[in-house]
């Protein structure tokens, strides 16, 4: 075992779990690195992964939050496969690094035990061409069936390669048969102004027997694009990963860069980031509450919600020059400071929004016909949610007690008091209730941050990155946890940027939540999750 960093640096709360792992698997762990106190890398062979994961899952309540690969054939002659495990209670991450030779390497699937990694493992197979063993459904995922045999995230694949017109196989959907069973295909192009995704319902009359979701129509090779951009441009690209989470993604990216270069944004910058993250949460949650009301045709509530959302967007525009908060984030802090007057505007805004939001909530909660539609609709049980690793607000409506803001305080969340709403029922009503609770928490968080806003610079210079430096950046966006993992190539270049949007994790849950519901209830169930296509497809 080679130790590249002083194990004493590891976060105290992680020590017991770390000691347990080294006791149990000591000799088989090839290397340990702790570039940051809460981020510990363990290099192991593939056959040890399931044992380590099982131990961390069972004994330390870890969650496998990201699985991805990295092509380091040039330097080390192997692919690296990473498993990021979050220990919420210990506020730290264990990252398993598995070297795989290009010739014989094979990812041994964990999907049978952990359905949560199903799509992510298949993505590795598609994008890196590393074969997948023991997977229950090892079909194409990120790249559709008609793609030629190319693996875009390998280093020897040039991003400018022009591929011939696709002539491969069409996707074969699973057949569901029985008397009176028929299929209702919806999409990939939809009636609203939304992104593409194909939903194939198998129904018997109105009740849904099975729902197959096919995504990745908007795969844009975003992760590959990061490898060709200087870091400063990468922020702009991160903003466009998922439009409604622009600031959260950009901040997660900046967080990763800052951690890789060993600095931290100054206190005032962290405070401003916190306010922006909460503003993003505000406008999305309010819009979703309205949209859920629209989908049960309670349009008045939506009209009010849209008006409130517009006020938040205008405030965003006033504060950052962009209604979606783009252009605000930058590595080392934020781009602009706010004047005392602007700060006052936010305070007034928050004060005015509170009663308006309360009246919107009253309007909805006093409508018994709306409640009747939302309650017991689209139930995602806590067990299913746990199996699928559902995170974020959808998870919290189904018993998942986790929020990176509380468990891994980033930006200024360690300075403020708030509670994390958790419900067990997992229906549409509870997913809306989580949003309502979180809007109230957000308003309070903004008030607390503004009340104790630190003075000082809002930006520090980011030193050059060490080639080979790795870091995990994380942010709790409004939808759930966002992870950006980077490996630096040069002072201002990245060799790999892995993006994990909560949508990728939560989409499969929709197929489970809709089972047994009737087909006209699908839109409202879908809206209650409101997952991003773009963030999933990248």
């Amino acid at each position: 075992m080679t130790t590249l960093y002083d194990p004493a640096r590891i976060l105290a709360a992680l020590q017991p779990a770390f000691a347990d792992l080294t006791d149990r698997f000591g000799s088989r762990i090839q290397a340990i690195e702790a570039p940051r106190p809460n981020e510990v890398y363990l290099q192991v062979q593939m056959d040890l992964v399931s044992g380590l994961c099982a131990q961390l899952y069972r004994k330390w309540q870890a969650r496998l939050v990201s699985v991805f690969a990295d092509d380091v054939r040039e330097a080390a002659g192997v692919f690296h496969v990473y498993y990021v495990l979050a220990l919420d209670a210990a506020q730290g991450f264990f990252v398993l690094r598995v070297p795989l030779t290009p010739e014989q390497g094979k990812v041994v699937s964990l999907a049978n035990a952990l359905p949560a990694v199903n799509w992510q493992e298949r993505e590795i197979q598609d994008l890196f061409g590393i074969p997948l063993g023991g997977h229950p459904n090892p079909r194409r995922c990120a790249l559709h069936d008609d793609w030629p045999e190319v693996h875009p995230l390998r280093k020897d694949f040039d991003v400018k390669t022009a591929l011939p017109p696709f002539q491969g196989e069409r996707h074969k959907f699973r057949k569901v048969e029985g008397e009176g069973v028929f299929q209702v295909p919806v999409g990939p192009v939809h009636a609203g102004i939304i992104e593409p995704g194909h939903f194939l319902f198998s129904v018997a009359g109105e009740p849904v027997l099975y729902l197959q979701i096919r995504l990745f129509y908007t795969h844009k090779g975003t992760e590959k694009l990061f490898e060709n951009l200087p870091v400063s441009h990468g922020v702009r690209l991160a903003e466009s990963i998922s439009g409604d989470s622009s600031f959260a993604h950009a901040t997660a990216f900046c967080h990763a860069i800052e951690r890789a270069s060993g600095i931290e944004a100054p206190p005032r910058a962290r405070a401003l980031r916190t306010v922006c993250l909460e503003l993003e949460r505000l406008y999305n949650h309010i819009a979703d509450i309205g949209a859920i009301a629209t989908d049960v045709a309670f349009v008045v509530a939506n009209a009010h919600a849209m008006r409130l959302k517009e006020t938040v967007l205008r405030l965003n525009g006033q504060l950052t020059g962009n209604r979606l908060l783009r252009g605000m984030a930058c590595p080392g802090g934020v781009r602009f400071d706010w004047t005392t007057e602007q700060i006052k505007t936010i305070s007034n805004f928050v004060r005015d929004l509170m009663p308006e939001f309360d009246s919107l909530v009253t309007l909805i909660s006093e409508s018994s016909s709306t409640r009747d539609r939302l309650e017991t609709t689209g139930i995602l049980t806590p067990k299913t949610a746990r199996d699928l690793g559902v995170t974020g607000l959808a998870g919290r409506a189904s018993g998942f007690n986790g929020d990176l803001r509380r468990d891994f305080p980033h930006t200024a969340y360690d300075q403020v008091q708030f509670t994390v709403p958790v419900y067990q029922e997992g229906d549409v009503l509870r997913r809306m209730q989580v949003r309502i609770d979180e809007v109230r928490q957000s308003l309070s968080i903004i008030e607390q941050v503004l009340a104790r806003l630190p003075q000082g610079p809002v930006q520090v210079k980011v030193p050059d990155l060490h080639p080979g430096a790795v870091a995990l950046g994380y942010v709790e966006g409004w939808r759930g946890e966002i992870f950006h993992w980077i490996r630096a190539a040069g002072p201002q270049r990245l060799a790999r940027c892995k993006i994990k949007d909560p949508s990728l994790q939560n989409w499969p849950a929709l197929s489970e939540a809709i089972l047994g519901n009737i087909i006209p209830d699908f839109p409202v169930v879908n809206k209650s999750f409101n997952l991003s296509y773009s963030g999933t497809d990248r």
């Binding site: 209702v184 989908d295 049960v296 045709a297 008045v300 409508s367 016909s369 539609r373 609709t377 006209p520």
Partner: protein
Amino acid sequence: MNSPELFIHIVLLLGLAPLVSGCIRNWKAKLQNRRGPPVWQPYLDLEKFFRKDMVISENASWLFRAVPFVLFSSTILAGLLVPLISVAAPLSMFGGVLALVGLLALGRFFLALGGLDPGSAFGGMGSSREMTLSAIAEPALMLAVFTVAIGARSTDLSQMLMAAQGPTWKLFNPAHVLAFAALFIVLLAETGRIPVDNPATHLELTMIHEAMILEYSGRYLALIEWSASIKQLVLMALLVNIFFPVGIAPIQSSAGALGFSLACLLAKLMALGAAVVLVETTNAKLRLFRVPDLLSAAFILAALALLSTFLFQ
């Protein structure tokens, strides 16, 4: 019935129907703090649809093409059975309430076939939902109108109106209040309003009426949309005229009396439209499997109404 009155009746049916739809749409928007489309928007829509080319599924048969015409003519015929501004409906000698219900059912039957014909999933869904719901809505409609028919001793709508204007008529007869409530629910269902259907949605999976006509475009769509608004006008006129027979011109009356009658009709339609708007704004759509409960309630109300005509005679 002479030809000028027939002419006026048809013009009213064709010309007034889009306005009623437009008013409801506009008022709904106003209640939601939106500006909303102008009340004459449905006319512009119709004009646009008539100008546009049609896209017709290659799987569609002749039936698909026949549906708009059958629907349109059956709806117009149904409209000619209902007195609008004169107690004498142009076609009243041919049939009464039963013919009205039958003609509306004929139109619906063909519309459902039109939804099924191109073989798209949404059309079939819409057709099956529409037929399921109408199986309960139709009896409720018939029972409710029979309540009034028993009082008038005729199923002919003109006869019913004349009886309504007679001296023995009581406006707030309990039987009539119940029947009116039943018919109001039927009106919401038949015209695809919240809480039964949402005419403004873009979500195909939740649609009923709109799902059936998704495959239609251009002139055919115009005919179907126009029929839908005529059907709405006919049902609304039926409701206001048989329960509130105020100001309707008697047979062979002067132009002045007809004008007054028209003003009364417009006022009553506006009041009823406002009621529809209020219901649509304050309610969410019912879960699809709850709609039969609502329609059963309408049926029970109508049955009670029928019963009480005998009790309170």
